[in-house]
Each structure stands twice: as structure tokens, then as C-alpha cells.
Symmetry: C2
Subunit: 429 residues, 2 copies
């Protein structure tokens, strides 16, 4: 793994948002489903997933979900139940109440918090099935109180009843009751506009391939969407107290995700840099996904040498990494100086997979430097706020003149008069 | 004003997101500023605003801001100060603390809340200057703790030193210290990518013309943006206890904004419907902005007759109006049944301008039905969250096997090994 002075590293990474042909294809699919409903949905399912369904078969039955349990092992079931409980407990702490501010003149102001009514979760199909992503998307919505959570996932001929049983069990454990076997841009369009079979939703979340991502962009505004995820990243900030075996293993756990993933060690210790570099090479050879991980390490991986921990923190704040591990002598002390990071893992035992699967915080995190202004998926993503204004007669009589003054200065006489008609009537009453 | 049965009203409204020529123009400007910096910024300012500046004159000086105070009257100053205090007090209540969840095995999980570092606020120039929008954009950012708030507004030859003094005073009262006389798509590009004179920001908020809106879409991802505002809307839900003079005045205060604005009364009272319709006509004739308001009422206004309050609530929830006024016998009782609305005004004295200017809640609200999934501008829009995971050795030894099981079921062996190397070492230690 290359070791370079931090100042020589180019922090910026361009992200591809699809070719114009891909954009065109996504637009065509979205428009067709919008106009033709189920007919288009089934046509694209046949074209892209090579499965001929009729509309009555789109919805996955309760019996199919229950049958999936026979296909998963006890260790998985125990693990996913414990993970779900941890994720639920953490997100419960994010819940917020509506509040009111009561004023002595009788005025009530407030902020009302309500769950979204209906949310759609996209779960990718294909070879790599990620039951953990089902939990991370569904549980925050559930904790927020969303009454209708609908899941879509492409059918595949491989698994049980066409859908991976681990995905079905994760969905059932998370509490999903409405599930359709449909994927791609056509599934996004169905969720946004609705079809004869699928009712439209208010928000769509969950990762997918480039067509899914482009379709989500197209329907944004009709519904809300989560952010478009880029390739995954980890940065490790470490000093010579860190164990190079652990650091290397964590860098590689990120690198194995995909060739575009980025794994970066930031350290002022040359010894650690050398040791991690060697460890990465040693552990790489033993990885089943060696080829992917190696490409990722070679293209986007680096060990950045800094002159001090202070410079290291500066580099981290510029990177704004999706995942940050801190393995230094006084890790907790540095926390107050980390401005930008999606999730921060502190100490030798907080390996990134602890957060990816189990601890409780969400694993859907801002990528590609967007931790500067974005947050992990959380309960707030599944609620909406309304302001409440109950102005008393006394308050209006007291303050009406100021409201009128401001309206007139903006040239909005109609606004001024809406107040004035009330003042006139009430003062003369 | 037309009175129609509610079921005959078409609730959906298409929104225009710019012609392809406008998109092309915005893209060209953004790219030029990105590449050429100040040079392009000044060139477009000369082209579009007809003002030749050099880079040294872009920033508005403290002396210019102070000089603006001589050009505003005492009534305005008193009103804007009271409004600012109310807005600040309301938004203070939205602030949230970072929290930690301490577990008996030594594990700490948490959610860290931090302000964005640098935010850019766009303030439109031209004839209609809206000092209230300056307060509504800036104060929530300030309450969130954003250390750098920078404002941009196009120079105009009309006002004091090229910028409307009411805008300058509102900015000063809100606490803005960094202000540039630059507008249009070029200002958005400068905020997103930075130039020699203007440092880039993390988020851009504030309304603007179509080029500003399109430029904001283009830079989304590089920075965060607020939502793209559509035309303004009001819905009034009223019964025969409502005063038709007040209802009509409030409908018109919305209609005078622009020809695309939408003003809707929902009622089951035919008497109120008739009375409001006549009142609207009477008050219209006295409005300085009669022409705009009349077009708005004719194109997008309606009185919707329902068979009951229940049907009325259903209509409101489908409309998801930006502003909702409720003037019925037991207004507060209906609150729990309103699912979708940006701001809810209760009772006879809570006229919309109370919220537009003065009460404290934000006047930047979700338009065009997006209250289904969006919220008023609030302090959360100017913060970011990070998750904190400090896993103890005991917790890892206890739960490591579950994490490994989940990773292996997802085919991510590198993730499993990152845990395994720790278990092996610590169990053998």
C-alpha cells in the first residue's frame, strides 16, 4: 500500500452520475410506468429480470415470507434478531416530540412532528444480498411511526420463490408486511406514481444500481428520496499505539466492497505506516475477494503521512469520510475536533463491521465528502414537521402595527390589509 | 371567485423546472465560474446586472452596511428587531444536543450534532426586496451555530450603494458580517466552487429566479441546497363561524404574491362560500396589486364545497398546502387530523401575514404538495449528525460471533476477519 506525504494526496474524487444513454433509459422506463402502470411494470420485469409475472403475482404473500424461515440457519436468525434489537434501541433515542410554546398573552406557537404516511424501501437483488440494509432502512421508518412501509426487490430465479430467503427473513423480522417482487427503475416509478397494484408512497429510500439511482433523481419532487450513495470509504486516524493487524484488517474490510471503495490511513507514525502497508499485503492474499480489494487499495487506497496528529485531524476534516476510525492514545479527546465524518469508531475494538451490522447506529452514511453537510440515515428522515401558530387577539392588537409596517415595506399591501381589517373591527368592537 | 364541489377540483399542479435553453444557460454560467473564478463572476455581473465591478468591490464593506441605517425609517427598524427576536426565540427551541447512550459493558454509542461550518444565503434583488426572507434564512443558521454565514445579493443601480438598504439593515440585524454584491447563477456557482474572492460554502439556501433555482440543482451534491420553492399557496378550512371579511383578506394576501399563487377555501357552508366570494371581489378592487391577485384567483383560486368538515380535512390532507388556516368552531380539535401542511394557523387572529413576518416560526415552507414529506426551514437544516461508536472489548468478545455470522452471510469475508483477528488475539492474550 503506497505511503505518501499527506499534502501530496488529491482529496477530491469525481463521481459519475450516469451516461446520457443511461439517463435516457431510466427516463423512458419511468415515463412508461407512469402512463401504463402494471402493464409497463410487468413488461420491464420480463425484459430485465427475465421473469414473466402477472399482476396478481407481484405481491409476495405472507406464506412465502414464512416459508423463507426454513431456508435460513439458526446462527443467522439469532444474529439478525440481536442486530435488529440494537438498531431499534439506538433509533428510539432519536425520536422527538411535538412541542408547544405557550405565551402569557394567549398565543401558542409550536412544532408538530408527524411520521410520513407511506415509505418505499428498495432492496437490491442479484448475487450480493444485504439483509443488514433491510434493517437499516426499515427500522428507522418504523421507529418514526410510519404506518405503511412497503418493500420492493427484484425477483431472481436463484432464491426461494424468486427472492433471497435472507432478505425475506430480514424484512419479516423488521416488520415489513407489504412486499413486491419488482426492481430497477420500474420499481422506483411504481413507488412514485403508483400502479393498479402498488399504491404510491411519500418517500423512497435504499440503494440500487445506476438505473435505480437515476430513476430516484427523476422522481425527486413527486416524492422525497434519500441521498444517492457513492462508493464506500473508510479513514483511519492512528498513532503508534494502534495495532497494525487491526488497522490493515479494517482497511481491507472496506476495500473488499468494490473497486471504487476508498481506504485511507492517516498517521504521523512512520513505523505504523510501514507495518500496516506490509500487513495489508499479507492479509490481501488470504481474502476471497482479493481481486476487488487489491484494485480498490491500488486505485483509491493510501497511507498518508502527516507531521502531527493536528495535521491528521485537518486531513480528516477535509476528507469528511463516511467511516472514521480513531486509534490513538487519547482517542476520545480528539472527538471534539472532528468536524466531518459520517460515523466515528473509537478505540481498538470498534472495528467498522461492528457498526455495519450490529451496534445500533445506522450504516447508511454520507459518502464522497458529503458528511460536510449530510447525516447518517435517522428517524428524522421519516418524519415531517408543521409549524403551529395560534395568535391571540391580544397579541394581534399589540403587534399588528409592526406586521403592517413590514408588509408595506415589502410592497405587499394585501398582507397589510389582512391585518388591518382585523384591527379595525376588533378595536371598534 | 368560483365555487365548486370539492370532488370536481383537480388537486394536481404541474411545476415547471425550466426550459432546456434556461438549463443550458445556467450550466454554462456555473461551468465558467467554476473554471475562471472571479473573472467569469465579474463578466456575468456586467452582462446581467449591467454593472462593471472589479473583484475588490465585490464585498460589501462594514461602512456601507452602517450607512444603510440612515435610509430606513424607525418604524421599520422597530418592527424588524421585534420580528428578529421572535424568530430567534422560536428557532432556539429547535436546538438539539449531542447525546450518548452508556452501556454497562463499557460501550458508548452516540449521536453528535454539529453546525455546518459555512452557509451561503441568496437574497434576490430587483424591485421586490424581502428583508423578512433575510431573517428567515439567516437566523436558523445562526441559532444552529454556523460560524460563517455569507450572503449574496445582486447589485442594482437603484438602491443605496447598489443594494437595497432594507436588505442591508435586515442582514446587519440578523448578524451577517460577510456580504457580496453578486447574484444569479454566477453567485450560486461562486458559493459552491469558490473563487479568488469568495470561499466555497457547505450549503446554499434562499429563493431566486429560475436561473438561480437551476444553478442550485446543478451544484447539489457539491454542496447541500434547500428545496426549490414553487409558487406560494394558502388553504383556508372554515365553517359558518368564520368571518368572511377575514377569510377573503387572507386569500388575497396570498394571491397578490404572484399570478401562479393558489388560494383555496374549503368549507361545507354555502353561506360562507357566497359571502367570501363577494368579499374577494370587493376587496380585490381596492388592492394595488389587483391585476396579479385577480389572475391568481381566476387561474388557481377556488372555493371548494364539501359535504362535511370530515371531507374538508380529507381535501386538505390531499392538497398538503404550504399555509393552512383553520377558522372553525373548535379549530384546535381538528389539529390532530391534519396530516399534511407546512404551517397551520388557528383561529380568527392568526392571519397568514402574522407568520410571514412576525410570530417566530419560519416562513420558508414546503410548496406544491411537498408538505407530505418536507418541513419548514428549521435549525436541523443547518446541522449535521455523526454517529459515535465506542465498542468495549467485553462487548466485542460477547457479540463478535454474531457480527461474523452476518458478514459471512453477505459474502463479506474481509468484514468477518476484521472481527476475527481481534477475537483471536484478545482471547489468546
Amino acid at each position: 500500500m503506497r505511503i505518501i506525504p499527506a499534502e501530496q494526496f488529491n482529496l477530491s474524487r469525481e463521481v459519475e452520475y450516469g451516461t446520457s444513454a443511461q439517463n435516457e433509459a431510466a427516463r423512458e422506463i419511468v415515463e412508461a410506468v407512469r402512463k401504463e402502470g402494471d402493464t409497463a411494470l410487468l413488461r420491464y420485469t420480463e425484459q430485465h429480470d427475465r421473469i414473466k409475472l402477472d399482476a396478481g403475482k407481484l405481491r409476495v404473500t405472507e406464506a412465502e415470507i414464512q416459508a423463507a424461515y426454513a431456508h435460513v440457519d439458526a446462527a443467522f436468525l439469532t444474529a439478525i434478531r440481536k442486530a435488529a434489537a440494537n438498531i431499534r434501541a439506538f433509533h428510539e433515542k432519536q425520536k422527538r416530540n411535538s412541542w408547544m410554546d405557550l405565551q402569557p398573552d394567549g398565543t401558542l406557537l409550536g412544532q408538530i412532528i408527524r411520521p410520513l404516511r407511506r415509505v418505499g424501501v428498495y432492496v437490491p437483488g442479484g448475487k450480493a444480498a444485504y439483509p443488514s440494509s433491510v434493517l437499516m432502512n426499515v427500522i428507522p421508518a418504523q421507529v418514526a411511526g410510519v404506518p405503511e412501509i412497503v418493500m420492493v426487490t427484484p425477483p431472481s430465479t436463484g432464491g426461494q420463490e424468486g427472492i433471497n430467503p435472507f432478505i425475506l427473513v430480514a424484512a419479516a423480522e423488521a416488520g415489513v408486511k407489504e412486499l413486491y417482487r419488482v426492481g430497477g427503475a420500474q420499481a422506483i416509478a411504481a413507488l412514485a406514481y403508483g400502479t393498479e397494484t402498488i399504491e404510491p408512497v411519500d418517500k423512497i429510500t435504499g440503494p440500487g444500481n445506476i438505473y435505480v439511482a437515476l430513476a430516484k433523481r427523476l422522481v425527486f419532487g413527486v416524492v422525497n428520496i434519500d441521498s444517492i450513495a457513492g462508493p464506500s470509504e473508510i479513514a483511519v486516524l492512528a498513532d503508534d499505539t494502534a495495532n497494525p493487524v487491526y488497522v490493515a484488517a479494517d482497511l481491507l474490510s472496506q476495500a473488499e466492497h468494490d473497486e471504487m471503495a476508498s481506504s485511507i490511513l492517516v498517521t504521523s507514525s512512520k513505523d505504523l505506516a510501514e507495518a500496516v502497508s506490509q500487513e495489508v499485503e499479507r492479509q490481501l492474499k488470504e481474502l476471497p475477494r482479493e481481486e476487488i480489494a487489491r484494485k480498490s487499495i491500488e486505485s483509491y487506497g493510501a497511507i498518508l503521512l502527516t507531521s502531527s496528529i493536528d495535521e491528521g485531524i485537518e486531513v480528516i476534516n477535509k476528507l469528511a469520510p463516511e467511516h472514521l476510525e480513531i486509534m490513538t492514545k487519547d482517542s476520545m479527546e480528539l472527538l471534539g475536533r472532528i468536524e466531518n465524518a459520517g460515523a466515528i469508531f473509537i478505540g481498538a475494538y470498534s472495528s467498522e463491521p461492528v457498526g455495519d451490522y450490529f451496534a445500533g447506529p445506522n450504516h447508511i452514511l454520507p459518502t464522497n465528502g458529503t458528511a460536510r453537510f449530510s447525516s447518517p440515515v435517522n428517524v428524522d428522515d421519516y418524519i415531517k414537521k408543521s409549524s403551529l401558530i395560534y395568535y391571540s387577539k391580544e397579541a394581534l392588537l399589540q403587534n399588528g402595527e409592526h406586521i403592517i409596517a413590514l408588509a408595506r415595506h415589502e410592497g405587499l399591501e394585501g398582507h397589510a390589509r389582512a391585518i388591518e381589517v382585523r384591527l379595525e373591527r376588533e378595536l371598534n368592537a
